[in-house]
């Protein structure tokens, strides 16, 4: 399999959210524009910007207020996630017409392995041109495509020239093409790795490819060997089949609340919602977890996590919530109010109908409470999330009016999908 020549495309929808807004409202193309979160809900950061906003040095992820200081005439468009999900999924339907090996990398990027489709649709470049043309004509959006023999160089190609470009990196030209590029353009080389490499006088991908793999291993561990092989074009990982779903390593939800949380009882309202969502998602995936983690970010944006391992794996809201409340009591004194809070469960095992009971707890009550939660979830599925709620949710609707499970979106997975 590894010897067989492969053709991989990496397709990136250029400044995706901003471009979808421009497509829906073309006059936005003529002004500096950025898509931002909802400031009233305190999600006020820049999510994407258009080409006209780029010269102002506006950064993705910076607060809307600071972006407006850089460019007072910047037009902020409120993000409409449903639209972005809809249009990106439609565009991916086009990709699926060319191969069943389509691997998502976030909403706006995907790898396509078209090796087996070459006889039907023509070579990689032809397929790339065809996809680019169709996305533009059918959805009015431009994409950048990298065509190469592995995933790493395909991504490098799509990042090389934007917007609306196609870059081909072949086995014959990758040394001329990629080796002169800065090392942090390579996938998996982030800021901190680039810093370490700079200390070793490795500045370009070529420097990395020609350096000693033993030294890299000593300095960077397995990661050193990995990025060395990437630089030498030896990356061979498969583009996963569309039906492939990676088992999750942890399940969690966090929320930046619309107002600060100032005491334990307010925190409990939010944590109840989050624990409930996590418990439901665990049960949906038929998983139970042993490690419960609380994450807290205060109003100074300091973040910490506190976790506990339990003997018997669990999947109910009640149990998760009681542990989380203990963790909160032990670790936080509310000197500063909390801005965002999260609940995560890891150490996942498959739900097993037979498991070791504990001698020291009321297992019948536990089973009953689990049944109640399942019934509650059934009611919510049938009549809507807000059809049934805890009485505590009525205390402060600002803090309880959220459906973390329904509004949950999966964020880009890491390229490596697991440990090295």
């Amino acid at each position: 399999m590894e010897n067989k020549s492969r053709t991989i495309l990496h397709i990136d929808i250029n400044h995706c959210y901003a471009q979808i807004e421009e497509m829906l409202c073309p006059p936005l193309r003529e002004v500096p524009m950025a898509v931002g979160g909802d400031e009233s809900q305190r999600h006020g950061i820049i999510l994407a910007k258009n080409i006209k906003a780029k010269p102002y040095g506006i950064l993705t992820g910076e607060p809307i207020r600071s972006a407006l200081k850089k460019c007072p005439e910047l037009q902020i468009v409120q993000a409409n996630m449903q639209n972005y999900l809809y249009y990106t999924s439609k565009i991916k339907e086009i990709y699926h017409e060319y191969t069943d090996r389509v691997e998502d990398f976030g909403l706006d990027e995907a790898w396509l392995d078209v090796s087996d489709s070459l006889n039907v649709f023509g070579d990689g470049l032809t397929i790339a041109q065809e996809i680019q043309r169709r996305v533009l004509h059918e959805y009015g959006l431009t994409v950048s495509i990298g065509v190469s023999f592995n995933k790493v160089f395909a991504k490098l190609g799509s990042d090389y020239k934007k917007p609306n470009a196609i870059t081909e990196i072949t086995k014959d030209n990758f040394q001329d093409f990629a080796w002169s590029m800065p090392v942090d353009d390579l996938l998996m080389v982030g800021r901190s790795t680039a810093k370490k490499l700079a200390l070793m006088n490795i500045k370009t991908i070529g420097d990395l490819a020609n350096s000693s793999v033993t030294t890299l291993k000593n300095k960077l561990g397995k990661m050193g060997v990995l990025i060395w092989s990437y630089a030498n074009g030896m990356e061979t990982s498969e583009v996963t089949l569309e039906t492939f779903e990676l088992p999750p390593k942890s399940i969690g939800n966090s929320w930046t609340t619309p107002k600060d949380i100032t005491n334990t009882s307010e925190a409990k309202i939010v944590l109840e919602r989050l624990s409930n969502s996590v418990a439901c998602r665990l049960r949906e995936k038929q998983l139970m977890g042993k490690v419960i983690t609380l994450s807290v970010r205060d109003t100074n944006l300091h973040r910490f996590t506190h976790q506990r391992k339990v003997e018997v794996a669990l999947d109910t809201c009640n149990e998760i919530l009681s542990i989380i409340m203990e963790l909160l009591g032990e670790s936080y004194d509310f000197v500063l109010p909390i801005r965002s809070i999260g609940v995560h469960v890891s150490g996942l095992v498959k739900t097993n109908t037979h498991y070791q009971l504990s001698l020291f707890e009321d297992t019948i009550a536990k089973a009953k409470s689990r049944k109640v939660e399942i019934v509650l979830e059934d009611i919510r599925q049938k009549y809507g999330f807000y059809s049934v709620s805890q009485a505590s949710a009525l205390v402060d609707k600002n803090l309880s009016h959220v459906d973390p499970k329904g509004s949950h979106t999966t964020h880009p997975v890491g390229f490596l999908k697991g440990s090295l």
Partner: protein, 80 residues
């Protein structure tokens, strides 16, 4: 010619296989116009913004682009 995006009411026929065919468009003042002929159907982006299934239609002597966008219809109109 400058075009404007106008969402409008459309009377459609949905056949037994689920495919939609627009038959009349109803303007904002309530006036009804018959679609005499559908010249082309394909997915397309519109120059007035948005995208969807384009029905290139002949209405009387005019040719107009009618789009089915997710769950509603808009027309590339010559009047705002």
């Amino acid at each position: 010619m400058k075009f404007f995006k106008k969402y409008i009411k459309v009377i459609t026929v949905c056949d037994e296989y689920g495919s939609l065919t627009p038959v009349y468009i109803i303007w904002h003042n309530g006036e009804k116009y018959k679609i005499d002929r559908i010249l082309e159907v394909r997915k397309a982006a519109s120059k007035v913004g948005g995208c969807g299934i384009l029905y290139r239609c002949r209405i009387g002597k005019n040719e107009r682009n009618l789009f089915y966008e997710i769950n509603r219809w808009f027309i590339e109109s010559t009047t705002p």
